[in-house]
């Protein structure tokens, strides 16, 4: 077992939120056509609120802190936030489009000891990347930021969200990452918008495109192993929990709302009204999420894919039931192995999204 796996197990046993994803803003200087956010500011946490929140996270034992958005660097106090997070000894990962990373910013991120910067790149071709971001010249500026970060010795990963119009460019982005000395990660997941609008799901890969991705040896290495029929489901899988959301990980919005995951919009509390650790330990919603085991999953508990399915409880929640199947993940399991899932055999089809909650800003705290 790796040291990271041991740490996760220990955090799970102790009930410690080892990792937190904090969106410091939903505002952005790009307008990516697949983005699930609305880019408005309904009353973001102030610098002081975030500093206090970071102290609470440190006291709760949080170690891995992802600072993201929106575009986090549009906040004038973003570096102040990162500096304070590093002062509290968090391992900080920054997710950004790098448009605002000039020479000084790159140098400062290095000096602050940011462990990793993840940067969204949709294509190696300007006409595709800029069309998705809706900002002319954005690829050129983003890659300028990438190079500056690399020149200052930062660890950079290019995150390549795949949609219908850029799926064919993944090899180009992968080669680009190799050329600049960056890592590469790919994600074919498109989620509904936070206001419930599902129109962005039209951008999801077609089945034949998803198949090409899930059988691409450049991405997966041993395709035969990755696409092998699922092994039988054992007691360990049935007694196991679906993912780290709500167990060792949670998400916090710019308004202080706490959720199990960025893809799991189940409101569990708000740090403007409660202490973070009280929400983490005592929220009925977190307790509900934590109680779910493989054997409790509707339909999925009888599915032979259960042990190695990418089933996302958040996507299932957005489809109406956090213990039900996620049709997008059913599709991935089927396309990967050629074996239908229990959810598919039960008649669940993609884009049956319903019951999505809006994320509302919190009211001002009572004084």
């Amino acid at each position: 077992m790796s040291l990271m796996a041991e740490l996760n197990n220990k955090a799970l046993r102790l009930g410690v939120p080892l990792s937190v994803h904090l969106d410091v803003t939903y505002r952005c200087n790009e307008r990516c056509e697949h983005c699930y956010l609305d880019h408005e500011d309904y009353g973001e946490m102030t610098t002081g609120e975030i500093r206090d929140f970071l102290e609470q996270l440190a006291d709760a034992g949080v170690f891995f802190l992802t600072v993201s958005g929106g575009e986090p660097l549009v906040r004038r106090d973003c570096f102040e936030i990162i500096e304070y997070a590093r002062h509290l000894h968090f391992n900080v990962k920054l997710k950004t489009n790098a448009l605002l990373i000039g020479e000084q910013e790159a140098r400062r991120l290095r000096a602050l000891g940011v462990e990793q910067v993840q940067i969204s790149v949709y294509s190696h071709r300007e006409e595709i990347h800029d069309k998705i971001t809706k900002i002319s010249g954005s690829l050129r500026r983003t890659l300028g930021g990438v190079r500056r970060l690399k020149e200052h010795g930062l660890k950079v990963t290019l995150a390549n969200v795949l949609m219908r119009e850029n799926v064919q460019d993944r090899e180009g982005v992968q080669l680009l990452a190799e050329e600049v000395g960056a890592g590469y990660t790919v994600d074919p997941t498109i989620t509904p918008m936070i206001d419930g609008d599902t129109s962005v799901l039209r951008l999801r890969l077609r089945p034949n495109q998803l198949s090409s991705v899930l059988h691409d040896p450049r991405l997966l290495g041993n395709v035969d192993e990755f696409c092998a029929p699922p092994p039988g489901v054992d007691a360990g899988v049935l007694d196991g929990y679906p993912c780290s959301a709500g167990h060792t990980f949670c998400y916090v919005s710019p308004y202080g709302d706490v959720y199990p995951c960025v893809q799991f919009p189940l409101p569990c509390g708000n740090i403007r009204r409660q202490r973070f650790l009280d929400i983490w330990k005592s929220s009925p919603q977190f307790e509900e999420v934590r109680a779910i085991r493989g054997k409790d999953l509707i339909t999925c508990s009888s599915c032979r894919h259960l042990g190695n399915c990418t089933r996302c409880p958040g996507l299932a929640y957005m489809e109406g039931n956090m213990t039900g199947p996620s049709t997008a993940d059913c599709e991935k399991s089927f396309i990967r192995t050629g074996i239908p899932t229990a959810g598919m055999l039960a008649g669940r089809t993609r884009q049956s999204v319903s019951g999505l909650l809006n994320i509302h800003p919190a009211p001002p705290a009572a004084s």
Binding site: L7, V16, F63, R86, A111, L112, G113
Partner: protein, 104 residues
């Protein structure tokens, strides 16, 4: 014996977790875990606490002679310093905060 002072190295993230301490270096993303004794030493790595006092804390917590504790602590500190996790000085290391705050 000359006194020593220790402080965390540059660019480190660290946190206590159930009696242990987890440390990650931003330079190479290497993850380390310190056991309870190592964590006791790490807690004293504030740049101001003399190693003699840190060793005394170990002796307070564990059934070990001062000489053994000092020798083991010295070895441990040398190993961590060799990995860039600790800075060792003959004088107090007064400003540890600026180690993570480069000026823009």
């Amino acid at each position: 014996m000359n006194e020593k002072f220790i402080a965390p190295g540059d660019g480190l993230a660290y946190r206590a977790l159930g009696g242990e301490t987890i440390i990650m270096s931003a330079t190479d993303s290497t993850l380390f875990s310190l056991d309870e004794v190592g964590s006791l030493i790490w807690q004293g790595a504030d740049g101001r606490t003399p190693l003699t006092e840190i060793v005394a804390r170990i002796c307070d917590h564990y059934d070990v002679t001062h000489e053994e504790a000092r020798r083991d602590a010295e070895e441990f500190i040398a190993e961590l310093a060799g990995r860039g996790l600790l800075v060792v000085s003959g004088q107090a290391i007064l400003d540890t905060r600026t180690r993570v705050s480069g000026a823009l």
